[in-house]
Symmetry: C2
Subunit: 201 residues, 2 copies
């Protein structure tokens, strides 16, 4: 299979790309490195990426960021950061991608742990994740030509332990292998409209 991984230089995207590259042709897409350059927040850039890559069997995205801070000091604009920088770009990758994905292909988006196991200051991210998980569940029943769509909701990765030190108290840290397997299930499996949780227990 030919698989696009957007955000392949990030911890989650790299785990996905490395796991799939064992058996498939993986095109690593990032803003400033990789096989193809793309800014996922720019719809024209998404379209150019699809034109350059041609038909594929699967599209994975593992990108996005939001606002972190207490909800009682959060502005409306800060709340929208998660939607505009995590939810909408990944949704746009789907909306622009239909004609570029082969029959029976798949999309895998990336949400995250915060709408099932919250931390302080995480309400913006929790909403962005919830929107993504809701979107794939809703979109799956509409998908044409046997195309599937799922989200992956990983816990904090072991390789990101230092980066998030002090924020995810008591959260399990998951291996690259476990994260990679979730994206393999999304691409190579049979399910649709699901959120694949990568977590302990």
């Amino acid at each position: 299979m030919k698989v696009i991984v957007v955000g392949a230089s990030g911890a989650v995207g790299k785990a996905a790309a490395d796991a799939l590259a064992v058996r498939h042709e993986v095109i690593r897409v990032n803003r400033s490195s990789g096989d193809v350059l793309m800014d996922i927040e720019d719809v024209d850039s998404i379209r150019a990426m699809y034109r350059e890559v041609g038909k594929v069997d699967a599209v994975i995205s593992a990108v996005g960021h939001g606002h972190f801070g207490p909800v009682d000091r959060m502005t409306s604009e800060q709340f929208m950061k998660g939607i505009l920088h995590k939810t909408l770009p990944q949704v746009n990758l789907v909306l622009e991608g239909f004609e570029h994905v082969n029959d029976g292909g798949s999309f895998a988006l990336t949400s995250g742990v915060l709408n099932r196991d919250p931390i302080r200051g995480g309400s913006c991210a929790a909403a962005a994740n919830g929107a993504l998980d809701g979107f794939v569940l809703g979109a799956a029943v509409d998908m044409p030509r046997g195309i599937r769509i799922n989200s992956v909701s990983p816990e904090v990765l072991e390789v990101s332990r230092q980066k998030f030190d002090g924020f995810f108290h008591g959260h399990y840290h998951v291996s690259n292998e476990a994260v990679g397997l979730a994206y393999c299930k999304a691409v190579e499996g049979c399910l649709s409209g699901r959120t694949f949780i990568v977590d302990y227990g």
Copy 2:
């Protein structure tokens, strides 16, 4: 208790307001009728409503709309309708409401069935609902002064059977009493960060 119900003229909001009015002072807020007029899509109007009503013990919202249509023909702008007309207005009601809600008070937002039991064309609404459910789960751990926050996710109401005829095949239709009870649990109960599902089984 003094309870604001935004969207009290709608089917869900009326069920909530009627149930709570048995034991509490309910202020019914709508765009064009009720005790106080407010446009929830206008932050200045939200602020004016809070100033007019004064301190309250609970704030309920049961408003919002989005785009319905197949995901493979949905534009980015159509996708955002659910976020901008259902998620963001309800989140803004919370963000603007902290100083007007008494210690130990509560917020209850309204999501819906489509991010747990999808129908065709419902991916925009499913994302909006998921964002709301994610937001309350994330926000609950930040809430000051013992204030709680939950969402209510009702199935289609029995009273709305005609309105949605043909869209919700096989969906159970719930009673006003069941819907009202969920909002009573949100206002009078002890839980926070939850989504109260009103459904059969």
